[in-house]
């Protein structure tokens, strides 16, 4: 997909349906009930791709929505991250779940290394720094206080 999308290209599924494809490459106009009945369509084909998210980020940025664009870019990095790792990482980010900043940093390194999720990794490292300063690594669920 070309990076220079303009607002006129939106909605992509209506203006450029041939460029919109599911995770296994099936274009949306071939995702039909008939194809479902033939057993050709799985949930995988109904998943968004990093390319589509980056295209939406381009459109958001063209509309002046920088922060929304950045969220789509972080999301693009998470597309291929398995669900359990996503939920586990979310859990680690909750207050007091991790007591040692190194654990969060290690998770950041893993996401960067295994999934090339560099923006997400930076985001986690930044959280580690703030959590340490604000006491969010202190055990909370243990009921010590």
């Amino acid at each position: 997909m070309t990076p220079e999308l303009t607002l006129a290209d939106y909605p992509l599924a209506e203006t450029r349906p041939e460029t919109v494809r599911g995770a296994r490459g099936i274009p949306i106009d071939r995702i039909t009930v008939k194809a479902v009945m033939a057993g050709d369509i799985g949930m995988e084909d109904l998943r968004i791709t990093p390319a589509a998210l980056l295209a939406q980020a381009g459109i958001a940025r063209a509309a002046g929505r920088q922060t929304l664009a950045r969220n789509f870019e972080r999301a693009a990095e998470l597309v291929d991250v398995p669900q359990d790792i996503i939920m586990d990482t979310y859990e680690m980010l909750r207050p007091g779940r991790v007591n040692d900043p190194a654990d969060l940093i290690a998770r950041a390194d893993m996401l960067a290394h295994d999934y090339n999720a560099t923006a997400i990794a930076d985001f986690l490292r930044e959280a580690a720094e703030i959590y340490a300063r604000r006491g969010f690594f202190a055990g909370r669920s243990e009921g010590a206080t």
Partner: protein
């Protein structure tokens, strides 16, 4: 010293005590305890300092002292390129810019990227309620307004869920949100809503509010298309108490987008107060922090305007204005706004109506972030501002103000078809996937039911087993689409697939996206361009026709058809025989009754439903009982009660006449009085009885005999007579006036009563 006993209370207070309003409780302003809507002495002064392009202090706090919320806002919300310029503009000027229709929304949105929470709060606090509503109309992101429904029930019954979802779709809701009574029932509820929302047309987004991890799993299986329960809070401790941080929530936001699921955050005044960590700050300032946080996270929108905190916010002075002000900050920050009007903040229907009006006339991305499309007791989120009971009130408000609240009236026949279709479709899916075999009796009870109290269907426990199966067997929306298609629900299969396909392109992840007529509509391709009259959202002629088509409206044809049903019966009871032109009488013992032009010719009943023959007969008898005679005269020159009476009086030998309209309005007049200065008048025909008419005639006879009788009073209990009867009355009166001929002479007429009047034995 006095013997007169002094009452201990004016009894009016007892009346007031018994009004629904008094079930509401009101809190004194008390910033130290968090009860302050707009300002608190603890609120910081707005400010931002930059060094080398970095924020070094914000709202009086130095960067090294930032709490976790400040840190996130300074890093992700504030744009250093804009902050100096935006923060330098005086708050008064920014406030005026918000209501300046000539200044485009986009200019203000750009400036908001450089404004701190304290500044945003300080600016909107300067606007009064009207200005906030106006600014909201100008600043909201998407041009076309929309609405969201709650679809839940007290039994978690999936059949009812599907039927009610189909109704919500037909009513025009852009989104439907469900949740459950028993947390294990999430999967069943989500699946049932997904199937119900596929009935009729495609494009209604659906979600199932549950625990975060579970909600994401359900979304992955394709049973929800958006999420809005990602809550954020305005103080660090309430955030921690909510078991999250700005970073965890922002991560979750990215996770939803990575799965192609539309998402918005939730925040609102009062949540920090309810959680006990308000830091003695005002509600508006805390909410401004929540909203800056959300923009920083990069979520496309917010559900704000009190939400679960709306009821407590509404207890403080200015609380409802505050809820509007925080919605305004949301749209100023360019967020989609599902603008509350959700948890019911009052028992007073007047406060409900007042609460909704500004949103109805200014429009909102989603006017209610949960309009209870089901009955109040079926709302598993708790009753909404509007519930199924009051849904028609909302439809009428749309019609009254010609304002698009996102809803469209539905016909009675259509609703039964939709409910049956939804119930059958879900039953087919259950059978095909071996999840259950609902009986015909269960289905029939749900189709007809207004609420779960009327159904004989699944119990919460039975639903838990279904829900468990869906989860354990890994059933996805693909399985459901196949089941629908296999069982002949082809349109529903197609509709459901289309909604799930939305996530592939991600078009509906953009700000304020909804699906209308099969197309994605968002702030990108339908931006609010309000710049004064004639711009922004206007209801099209076609849309206006939809809005005004509420049920049971009247026109003259309906009135005449209704009257025609009584024509035959009256013909068997009374004979009107026209004679010659009426001449002034000379007999001192007569009373003349002047009838209106359509009396007994085109109109046959009073608005109270009395046969005109009965009215005339009772009056005749009452006058005769005083030894006087009655002469009937039909007026052709007027249909007005006063002139009917006065004309009759002038023809009457006694100088006393009665004017009687077909609709039942009656007057006693005297020939020597001014037209509107009558002796007695029955203006409330709808509650006037035959005894009243007899009493009025007896009094007319008494006046003719020179007596001063006690006037007959038709007592009312304060019914809104005008509301009930004005439309039919005006239509009836038009039938009378159509027969009026200028200058036509009164006509003497004989009335012959043929049968004993109904209900009377002789």
């Amino acid at each position: 010293m006095t013997d007169v006993q002094r009452p201990n209370r004016w009894k009016r207070f007892e009346d007031w005590d018994n009004r629904p309003l008094r079930l509401d409780k009101f809190a004194r302003e008390d910033p130290a305890n968090g009860f302050a809507a707009f300002t608190s002495p603890s609120d910081p002064k707005p400010g931002a300092e930059l060094k080398a392009g970095k924020i070094v202090s914000m709202d009086g706090v130095a960067a090294e002292d930032f709490d976790i919320i400040d840190a996130f806002i300074a890093r992700y919300h504030l744009d250093p390129a804009i902050t100096p310029e935006a923060m330098a503009i005086p708050s008064d000027r920014l406030a005026r810019m918000l209501v300046d229709m000539n200044l485009p929304r986009t200019d203000l949105v750009r400036l908001a990227r450089g404004l701190t929470p304290a500044k945003l709060a300080d600016v909107v606090a300067r606007l009064n309620a009207l200005e906030i509503a106006f600014a909201y109309a100008k600043m909201r992101a998407r041009k076309t307004p929309g609405n969201q429904a709650h679809v839940t029930n007290a039994k978690d019954d999936p059949l009812q869920m599907a039927a009610d979802a189909a109704i919500a779709v037909a009513l025009g809701f852009d989104e439907i949100e469900t949740t459950m009574r028993v947390s294990r029932n999430t999967w069943s509820n989500a699946l049932a809503c997904a199937v119900g929302a596929a009935v009729g047309r495609w494009g209604t987004l659906f979600q199932c509010s549950s625990e975060e991890a579970e909600e994401l799993k359900i979304a992955m299986a394709g049973f929800t298309s958006y999420a809005e329960t990602v809550s954020v809070y305005g103080t660090e401790r309430s955030f921690a108490d909510g078991d999250d941080t700005p970073w965890s929530k922002a991560f979750l936001a990215a996770a939803y987008a990575s799965r192609g699921v539309k998402m918005r955050c939730t925040s609102g005044a009062g949540s920090e107060l309810l959680m006990g960590f308000h830091e003695t700050k005002s509600m508006l300032y805390l909410e401004a922090r929540c909203l800056c946080l959300q923009r920083g996270m990069g979520v496309q929108g917010t559900q704000n305007g009190g939400i679960d905190g709306a009821p407590v916010t509404a207890t403080v002075p200015g609380g409802m204005r505050e809820l509007m002000a925080e919605n305004l900050i949301a749209v100023w920050l360019d967020l989609e706004c599902a603008s509350g009007n959700d948890a019911r903040p009052t028992e007073s229907e007047i406060r409900v109506g007042a609460k909704i009006l500004p949103y109805l006339i200014s429009g909102s991305d989603l006017i209610c972030s949960g309009f209870g499309s089901i009955l109040a007791y079926d709302n598993s989120f708790n009753p909404s501002l509007f519930n199924g009971e009051e849904l028609e009130d909302f439809l009428v408000l749309q019609r009254d103000f010609e304002a698009d609240g996102g809803l469209t009236p539905v016909g009675e026949g259509q609703t039964l078809d939709l409910r049956a279709r939804a119930v059958d479709a879900l039953s087919a899916v259950f059978e095909a996937l071996d999840l259950g075999r609902p009986s015909e009796a269960m289905k029939a009870s749900v189709v007809a039911a207004s609420g779960s109290a009327d159904t004989d269907s699944y119990s919460p426990g039975a639903v838990a087993a279904i829900s468990q199966k869906i989860m354990e067997r890994g059933i996805t929306v693909i399985d459901v689409i196949r089941a629908l298609q296999e069982r002949g629900y082809e349109a529903e299969a197609e509709n459901l697939l289309r909604v799930v396909k939305l996530r592939v392109s991600g078009d509906y992840l953009q700000t304020s996206a909804v699906i209308r007529d099969g197309r994605v509509l968002s702030a990108i391709n339908d931006p609010n361009d309000y710049q004064g009259p004639g711009t922004g959202y206007r209801t099209s002629e076609e849309r206006r026709r939809e809005i005004v088509e509420i049920r049971d409206t009247l026109d003259q044809g309906a009135v005449l058809r209704e009257e025609a049903r009584f024509e035959k019966g009256e013909a068997a009871r009374i004979l009107y025989t026209p004679k010659s032109a009426a001449m002034p009488g000379t007999a001192r013992n007569e009373v003349v009754i002047g009838l209106s032009p359509a009396f007994g010719l085109r109109l046959f009943r009073t608005t109270a439903g009395h046969h005109l023959s009965d009215v005339a007969r009772r009056m005749t008898d009452a006058i005769a009982a005083r030894g006087l005679t009655v002469r009937f005269v039909r007026m052709h020159h007027t249909a007005d009660t006063s002139f009917l009476g006065l004309s009759a009086a002038k023809l009457s030998g006694s100088g006393i006449g009665i004017g009687l309209q077909a609709k039942g309005t009656a007057v006693i007049h005297s020939a020597d009085r001014l037209p509107h200065n009558n002796l007695e008048l029955f203006s409330n025909a709808p509650i006037t009885t035959l005894d009243h008419y007899a009493g009025l005639a007896a009094n007319a006879a008494a006046y003719a005999l020179g007596e001063q009788p006690e006037p007959i009073v038709v007592s009312t209990r304060g019914e809104a007579m005008g509301a009930r009867y004005h439309a039919p009355t005006a239509l009836i009166h038009a039938i009378e006036t159509e027969l009026v001929q200028n200058g036509a002479a009164p006509e003497e007429i004989d009335l012959t009563f043929l049968d004993p009047p109904t209900g009377m034995k002789r």
